[in-house]
Structures are given as C-alpha cells and as structure tokens.
C-alpha cells in the first residue's frame, strides 16, 4: 500500500500547534481575528495530517516514531519521544477532529469576547499538549503534557476570570486534578526506580517479564489510576467537572467532554498491562467506575443548568469506561471513549448554541426551541440518542459492549449496575431534550433563531460520527476486522453481539423514557403535596440530589476545618514556638542575662577590690596547688 506520508511525521501535528501557541502568545493581539485563523489552521493541519499518516500506521508493524534526548542527569536519560500505535492513532483522530470542529465553532460562538488572542493561544497549547499526551512514548512526556492540558483547562475555565465563580472553578479544577496527579507522579517515579527508565514500552516489557513484584505493581497501578480519577473526574475527585462548566461552551465541549477528561481512560488503557499484572487495582477501578456512573447519573437528573446536566452525564459516561476497563474490557472502554467523544462534544456544542441563542443556561427558561433552531435540535437529538443508546446510533454499540464485558468478566452484579446507570442516562437525557426542545416557547425566547453557520456546520459535521461511529465495531474487510481486532490489549476482542444485552438495553431505553413521562405526569404532582409520606420522601431525595450528596460541602468542610486549620496551626506554631520562643526567646534571654549581669558592676570600689582579691586567691589555689 502506498503511503501518502510516513508516520514519523506525526510529530508535526503537536509541533505545529505548539508553534502556533508561541506565535499567538506573543503576537496574538496583532493577528487578524486575534489569531483565530492561525489556531484553526494549525489544528486543521493536524486533522489533515491524521488522514495522511493513517495508511502508514495501519500498514506498519512497529509503532516507533522518534525520540530525542531532552536532557541527561547521572545515568538518567530523559528523552522527548513519540510513538504512534493503534491506541494513539485513535486518540489522534478524536483529538484532531473534535478540536478542529470545536475551534471552528468557537469562531462563531466567541465572537466579540475580549482577550481572544489569549483564548486562541491556549487552545493551540491545548491541542499541542493533548496530541503530545496521546503520542508520548515515555511517561515523562506523558506527565508533562498531562499537566499542560490541566493548565490549559485551568486557564480556559477561568477565561471569564472576572466572575468569582469562574475563578473558583478554575482553581478547584486544577487543585482537584492535582491531587490525582500526585499519585500519578509518584507512580511514575516508582516505575523509574524499579526499571530505571521512563520509556513506556520498556517499562511494559519489564512488567511482562515479571521483573516487578506483584504488590508493587498493584500499588503503582492504583496510583496511576488515582491520576486517572482526577483527570477523568471519577468519584470522589469528580467535583471539579460540573463547576468547570464556568468556561465557555466550546471549551467544555473539547476539553471537558471529548478529550482531556478522557485522558484518564487513555492513561489506564496505555498502562493496561500494569493493571492486568497488578490485577487488584482493576477491582478498585471497577468499584470507582460503578460508584461514579451511578452517582453522576442520579445527579444529572436534578440539574437545571444544561451544561451541568451534560457534565454529570460526562462523569457518568466516564464511569462506564472505567467499569469497562475494570472488567477487562479494554476495547469496549476505548470504543465508548471514541463514540462518547463525538456525541458529547456535539451535545455541548448544541448546548452552547442554545445558550448562545437564548442567553441562558437554565433549562427551566427554555422550551419549544425545536422549531426555532432546527439544526441544533436535530444534531442535539442525534447526540442525545447516541448517549441514551438508541439503536444504531454510536452509543448503542459501545454501551452494549460494556454491558457484555461486565457480564462476562465480573458477573451479573456489575451488569445490573451498568444497566441501572444506563437507565439513568436515558432518564436525564429524556428530561433534558423534552424540557429544551418541546413544550411551549417561553416568553423570553421569542427572538431566538438559529446560530450562525460557522457554528452549525461543525455541529452538523460532528453529527456524522456521532451517529455512525458505532459501525466501526463491525468487520467490513479482511484488513479491518472491526474495532476489536484493531485496538486491543492482549488478545483481540471482536465485536460481541448478545441478544440478551440488546434486549435489555432496549428495555432500559424504553423504560427510561417511560419513567420520565411518569415522573412528569404523576410524581411531580405527588411531590407538590409534601405533607404526604411519599411527597416527603421525594422532597428529601430531591434535596439530597440537589445538594450533590453534600460531597462539595464535605470537601469544603475538610478544607476549612482540616487543611486550613492545620495550616493555620502550622503557621501559628511557627510564630509562637519556633520564632517567638525559639528565636526571639534566645535574643530576649541574652538581653535578660545582660541586664542581670550588669548588676555586678555596683559602682563600689570595695566590691571591685573584693572581687579582684577573691579571684586572685582562687587562681593561686588553682595554679599553684592543682
């Protein structure tokens, strides 16, 4: 097969974006459109490049690219290297595609905002880092880019920094993910200590060769997963993601739905052999994933901010992926990652389009937008359907795969959990769609009209994979035996079709939609009468959910009463004990000594002479008679 471009050129994708960042950061304000063109062109180049190298990667056996020493210290060599294998390839595809669409979309969405040069610069940096992340052949580069995408997220969440909530959300996002990163970083250093290298393939080689003890591997895998939990907003580190919706909608679409938050899943996938070897960690993964999926699914039910609903949905979906990974379903997880990236990005873009048009994010103020914004509505419905698992739409395929692996590897309990979570996702999506697009048009929405084409064209384009990406699972040709034979860990996992699963998920879908109708019709009426027992229970559940299970409060409490009090204690200790007692005390005691000692100088000649005489006598005794 002739290849249009060797895969060794892949590095150009992040490099060009990085270059764009440098130019934008320094000169962005002088560029036309505040640099939008440059940024879009850079990522567009990346997207094109992806297609150009695709054949070469598919046809190649060895996933090696390039590696260059960054610096050396002692016998430690740190290199900046990239490798592209099937996993990276998929990720590159997702990242370039979504990023490109989102950036184009931004041109319309962000029109007229201040500081756009900065916006574009950070976008380029994000693209570069994210591409670097998925291409990294060593943990160090992976960590660096991992942090860089984190900081881009921080900067973009805080884009509207004049809003107190945005500033706080940005901080919260960074600090929370940073907690996970501590684990990840420790894991990297432990691996380095064990193997003496950061190179991923070498490390995985030694893992395969059994050079690292089981216990250590479990520990390392858990620590890595800690990093993934932070980035992918897994319980209990999920709290930042809903708040991160303070950022502009395109940012949410790109970073907080499609790419960065999926990096945790990618990371676990990348280091999967370690998890397999230290398999205790996978139990941990599956438990955390389950909790997250259920918890976020319930929380999504009661949110009134359209983006927050989607954010909880994202958390929940990431939980699905983690469940899958924890249930040895590497392929299924990554497949869901792929489909989720498209439909969730699309959902956010749709949400952005809606709030762009209505000027609000509150779904209670929306309704009946379906006719006013047809393209938005259709694309949104497609994506929502994909999420809910509507047959043939992308989410349908990937979710069923997860159900299958859960049943196969972990048993019925997990299967049930996933089904419940799926039910929840149908429920909240139904709620969202019906509230936003159906019903009567609100008073404030009279002037609403469809977004400009620079926004809706990317949406439309993205709707294609959101709808059809599921078909990638099937085998069409000999060369491509379906997603499962293309991307796998260990042995290939061809598409696994199960009647049971399909049936059950269809039931769940219908049940979910039905439940919503039931909810609207009767339960709300019950709830309106809180004096009745049922009403009371409902109110209490509602309050619990509305307060997000009080997790944020718990954190706030832990920070206020724990960390801050502790730090105040340390600072107080430093002042009172170390400084005032230890340091000043020495000084004061010297002065006190002086004040006491000087009293020996009485001013009396007789005393002076006596001292001389007595000391002389003593000296004679000592010197002459010792």
């Amino acid at each position: 097969m002739s290849t249009p471009l060797g895969m060794e050129w892949t590095f150009l994708a992040p490099a060009v974006c990085l270059g764009a960042f440098a130019v934008l950061a320094l000169f962005g304000r002088y560029l036309p459109g505040k640099g939008s063109l440059l940024s879009v062109a850079a990522i567009g180049f990346g997207f094109v490049l992806f297609w150009l190298i695709l054949p070469d990667v598919l046809g190649s056996e060895t996933p090696n690219l390039f590696s260059r020493t960054w610096f050396e210290s002692g016998d430690t060599r740190l290199s900046l290297g990239m490798a592209i294998d099937e996993l990276s390839l998929v990720m590159v595809g997702i990242v370039t595609a979504v990023a490109f669409m989102v950036q184009v979309y931004s041109v319309g969405y962000m029109r007229g905002e201040p500081r756009m040069d900065w916006y574009w610069a950070v976008h380029s940096l994000f693209a570069a880092s994210m591409l670097g992340l998925v291409l990294a052949d060593n943990l160090l580069l992976l960590y660096i880019t991992w942090e860089l995408v984190g900081i881009c997220s921080y900067l973009l969440i805080g884009f509207y920094y004049e809003r107190r909530s945005a500033a706080e959300a940005a901080k919260k996002a960074f600090v929370t993910t940073r907690i996970g990163d501590v684990g990840f970083f420790i894991a990297i250093l432990l691996l380095f200590k064990e193997t003496g290298t950061f190179d991923i393939s070498t490390i995985l080689g030694s893992v395969a060769a059994g050079e690292i003890s089981q216990g250590m591997l479990t520990l390392i895998a858990s620590l890595i997963f800690l990093g993934a939990m932070g980035k992918s907003a897994q319980f209990p580190l999920h709290v930042w993601l809903p708040d991160a919706m303070e950022g502009p909608a395109p940012v949410s679409a790109l970073i907080h739905a499609a790419t960065m938050v999926a990096a945790g899943v990618y990371l676990v996938g990348r280091m999967y052999p370690i998890f397999l070897a230290g398999s205790g960690a996978l139990v941990f993964v599956v438990i955390i994933g389950s909790i997250t999926a259920l918890l976020a699914g319930t929380l999504a039910l009661v949110q009134n901010d359209i983006k927050r609903v989607l954010a909880y949905s994202t958390i929940s979906q990431l939980g699905f992926m983690m469940i899958s990974l924890g249930a040895f379903g590497f392929t299924a997880a990554l497949f869901h990652l792929l489909t989720h990236a498209f439909f969730k990005a699309l959902l956010f873009m749709g949400a952005g389009s809606i709030s762009h048009a209505t000027g609000t994010n509150d779904i209670r103020e929306m309704g009946g937008l379906g006719r006013r914004m047809p393209v938005t509505t259709i694309t949104f419905m497609i994506a929502a359907g994909a999420l809910a698992g509507f047959p043939a739409l992308s989410g349908f395929w990937s979710k069923d795969e997860i159900l299958n692996v859960a049943l196969d590897h972990r048993g019925a309990w997990l299967y049930v959990i996933v089904l419940i979570a799926a039910f929840l996702s149908v429920l909240y999506m139904t709620r969202l769609v019906s509230k936003v697009f159906f019903g009567p048009l609100r008073e404030g929405s009279r002037h609403v009209h469809e977004s400009p084409s620079v926004m809706i064209i990317p949406m439309a384009l993205l709707a294609i994979p959101a709808a059809g990406a599921g078909f990638l699972a099937l085998d069409y040709t000999v060369a491509y035996g379906g997603f499962g034979t293309f991307l796998f860990s260990g042995e290939s996992q061809p598409f696994d079709y199960s009647v049971l699963t399909t049936t059950l998920s269809m039931i769940v879908l219908l049940a979910g939609m039905g439940a919503y109708l039931l909810w609207r019709r009767s339960i709300q009426r019950v709830a309106a009468e809180p004096q009745r027992a049922l009403g009371r229970i409902y109110t209490q559940i509602y309050r619990l959910l509305d307060n997000k299970y009080y997790i944020d409060e718990a954190y706030q409490w832990a920070i206020d009463k724990g960390v801050l009090v502790f730090s105040a204690g340390v600072a107080l200790f430093d002042r009172l004990v170390v400084n005032n007692t230890g340091v000043d005390g020495v000084g004061k005691s010297a002065v006190l000594t002086s004040l006491t000692l000087r009293l020996h100088q009485t001013g009396q000649v007789a005393n002076y002479v006596l001292v001389i005489l007595v000391s002389t006598t003593i000296l004679i005794l000592i010197v002459a008679f010792s």
């Binding site: 010297a590 000087r598 020996h600 002076y608 001389i612 004679i620 010197v623």
Partner: protein, 479 residues
C-alpha cells in the same frame, strides 16, 4: 659600660618634646594653647622619622634592662602614632571642656614615653616602673575634667584600684624574684628552662603578675574599674585608655610571656585562656544592656581585651602575630569609634545611644564612620576586624584551643547585637524635631576620621604589608 646613647634617641626626643610643650605652655596665650597639640604631633612625626634610623638595630642595653630591637621599634612607632592621633582628636574637646591644655599635652607625651619604655623593657623593674609612669599619666588624664564629678569619681576609683592591683603585682614580682633570683627576662627564661620543678611561690607570683597586668588590660574579673573610669574620663582619654594603654600593656605582656615565662607555658596557658573566655563573654553580655555609648564601648573593649588575650593564651608565631595584627586593627577601629563619639559630643553635648537618632541624616559621614568602626569591631568583613580576628583565631585554633576560638567567634556574633543598636539609632530612627539640623564637622576631625577609616579598610582588604612588619617584630620573641 659602653652605651650608645643614639639608641635612646626616640625616648630622649619625646621627653624633650614633653618638656618643651610644658615650657611653651607658660608663654602661650590661652586661645593658642592648641598649638601645643600640633607641636606635639609634629614632634612625634619627627620622632617617628628618627626611629627609622634604628631599624634592624638589635642591642641589649644595661644587661638586658632595655632592649633595642624591631619588636620594640614596631611598638614604639605604633604608640607614637596613637599618641599623635590622640592629641589631634583631643584638640576640640580640650578647647571646649578642659582647663590646663599645656599640662594635658605634656602628660600625653609622657605617657607615650612610658609606653615606649614598656615596649623596650627587658626586665621586671624597668617594665614595672614604665608601666607605673603610664598608669600615673592616665590617672591624671582620667581625672582631668575638673568640673565633672564623674571624672573625679572615675579618677578616684582608678587610682585606688590601680594602686591596689600594683601592690598585688609587686607582691608577685617579689615572689618571682625570690624564687628565681633574677628579674631580667632572659635570666628568668634561663632559670625556668633549666628543667627544675617549678616552685609554688613562683606560680603564685606568676598569678599575681597576671592579675596585676590583667587589671591594666581589663581582663575579667579585674575589669570592674574600667566601665566607670571610661565613662567618667574625658572621652579622648577614654579612647586613649581603651586603645593606647592596651596596646602598650599587650606589648609588655607579649614580651614578658613570650620570652621570660615562655618555658612555663603549661602552667599559665589554662589560666590565661580562662581569663580570656570570661573576659570576652562578660564584656559582650553586659554591653548589651548599656545606654551610654561610652560605657557601651567600654564593655565592648573589655570584650575585645578577651579576644586579645587569646593571643597570649595561644602563644605561638601565628598567635602572637595575630595578637599584634588584631591590636593594629583594633586600635584604628576603636579610635575611629571614639573619635566619632567625641565629634558628636563636641557638637551636641550628648553621649547616650538614643541621642544618636537620625545621625545618618544629620551627618552621613559621621554615621558612616561610626558604622564602619562598629562593624569592624564586630568582626565583619571588608573592615579590619574581620581580617585581624580571622588571623588571630586561626593562630589560636592551631594551638589547639578550639573551644576558646569557638567561644570567641560566638561572642563576635553576640557583639553585633549591641553595635547594631547604635546603628539602628543612626539610620533607622529620625532625629528629634527640635534638634535635627545638619552637623558641620570640623575639617581636622574629618581628616582624622578619614585616615582611620582608610586604615580600617586597608587592614581589612590588603594587610600583607603590615603583617610583614609584624612578622619581623615577633621574630625577636623566643618562640
């Protein structure tokens, strides 16, 4: 006995100079009496010039009573310079505060003469009588401020305790004479190195000698007169007491212990080390609580005496070089400090530490001079104090007295505290509103201060030439 009287040239000239000054005093009108100071200074410069004819002459006159060598010559020039400086910086003070200037300068010259004899003495009686001459001059000078009750009080304390301690010293000398049968340094050294066991009475005598001389150099616990006398005496005299008298006493001590008593080193080393430790610690600690700057400097110079005693405690080539080197630096530094205080006192009549508030604005130069000298006293680099202390401490450490050096270093650090208290007033505190005009320092004082500062910097930055001279001088000790 064939005596080459040329070898006495400096001494004779100074004595003559003193008499001329006293004589001229009778004829000069009151407002021109300060010419005597200039005359004295000029005379001293001439004598310094004359002294250079004696370079490298080495003679023992009168059977070793009077030694002519480079050690003596070095110190003679040293004390001559100190004397000249003292007369110069006294001028304004004497004009303003003291009566009988002629006698004042005459007695200063006599004290210089006494110090010259002290450096050259090679025998106990000669040393004693020169020492008494010096002390007598200082008794007179310390009580010179006739109107000041403090001065008379200081003088009284000084002379009573001084007489008492010289009685102790004499008793000690008598015991040494009685046990060894000789009073020349050379003879003493010969007897001591004969290998016989040391007599108890000799040791007692040695202790008494240390006590008597310890009084002169303000070693703790024989120091208690010093703060009172220093505070009471006219400030130029205080400076002189703190510097010149100490230089000469150490010259004497070093020669005495470096030649005569050297063979008995083991007997007195511990004692001197102990005194040194006590001296620097007490001096430094008590200085912290002082309010009067003269008194503070008095305690500070007690502390410095402890440091100087290190050189005696660790008597070796390096140790004695270090001692003399430190003396040089200490003299310039302490003089500079005192001169600053004198100048300030002349201009404002104040001498409490708090009174120095705002000096940096009122007279940057004076503040700088005082700051430099205080930093130098604290042993901070760039200034004499660091280089000289470093040298001295190295020498002492080499003799194995690490603990003592450690104590001395810690003490230097402590001393910084009270020096900083003065600097704080000068730089950090504003002058009081009713008294904050700029101060005009007379050119003569500016000149003296500048010269002293130059010496401080020179010693601190490039001391090699001075050390060469010192090494040459100490080669005459039996080390």
């Amino acid at each position: 006995m064939n005596i080459n009287f040329w070898l006495f040239l400096p001494e004779f000239t100074i004595a003559g100079l003193a008499l001329i000054v006293l004589g001229l005093d009778l004829f000069l009108p009151q407002e021109r009496k300060h010419w005597l100071a200039y005359l004295g200074t000029a005379g001293i410069l001439v004598v310094i010039g004359l002294s250079f004819t004696l370079v490298d002459d080495t003679e023992k006159l009168y059977g070793g009573l009077f030694l002519v060598d480079d050690y003596a010559l070095f110190f003679k020039v040293f004390v001559l310079i100190l004397g000249a400086a003292m007369m110069l910086f006294s001028v304004d003070y004497v004009k303003k505060h003291l009566r009988y200037p002629g006698e004042y300068y005459g007695i200063v010259l006599f004290s210089v003469l006494a110090m010259m004899f002290m450096t050259a003495a090679g025998e106990l009686l000669t040393a004693y009588i020169s020492l008494e001459l010096l002390t007598f001059s200082l008794y007179v000078l310390a009580s010179y401020a006739r109107d000041s009750p403090k001065s008379a009080e200081g003088g009284m304390k000084y002379i009573l305790i001084g007489a008492f301690s010289s009685a102790l010293l004499l008793y000690g000398l008598s015991l040494i004479y009685g046990t060894l049968g000789t009073t020349t340094y050379e003879g003493i050294a010969t007897v001591l190195s004969s290998g016989d066991e040391l007599q108890k009475a000799f040791l007692a005598g040695l202790v008494l000698v240390v006590v008597g001389l310890g009084f002169k150099i303000t070693a703790v616990p024989f120091h208690m007169w010093a703060p009172d006398v220093y505070e009471g005496a006219p400030t130029p005299v205080t400076a002189y007491l703190a510097v010149a008298s100490k230089v000469a006493s150490f010259a004497l001590l070093l020669r005495l212990f470096g030649t005569a008593f050297l063979p008995a080193l083991d007997q007195w080393q511990g004692m001197v080390a102990g005194l040194s430790a006590a001296t620097m610690t007490l001096g430094n600690f008590v200085a912290i609580a002082q309010k009067n700057i003269k008194r503070m400097l008095a305690y500070s110079s007690i502390g410095q005496a402890g440091v100087l005693l290190l050189g005696i405690a660790a008597l070796s080539e390096l140790g004695s070089n270090g001692l003399i080197f430190h003396l040089v630096g200490y003299s310039a530094t302490n003089f500079a400090a005192f001169v600053s205080v004198i100048v300030y006192f002349n201009l404002t009549g104040k001498e409490d530490i708090e009174d120095f508030a705002g000096l940096a604005e009122r007279s940057p130069f004076l503040a700088l001079a005082l700051t430099v000298s205080l930093f130098s006293l604290a042993g901070l680099p760039f200034f004499a104090g660091f280089a000289t202390k470093f040298y001295l401490f190295t020498g002492v450490a080499k003799e194995g007295l690490i603990w003592l050096v450690a104590l001395a270093i810690v003490n230097s650090a402590i001393s910084l505290y009270y020096y900083l208290m003065v600097i704080k007033q000068m730089y950090l505190r504003p002058a009081p509103d009713n008294d904050n005009g700029r101060l005009k320092i007379p050119p003569l004082q500016v000149g003296i201060l500048s010269a002293l500062l130059l010496v401080i910097f020179w010693v601190g930055i490039y001391p090699a030439p001075i050390l060469n001279l010192i090494e040459k001088a100490t080669s005459f000790l039996y080390l």
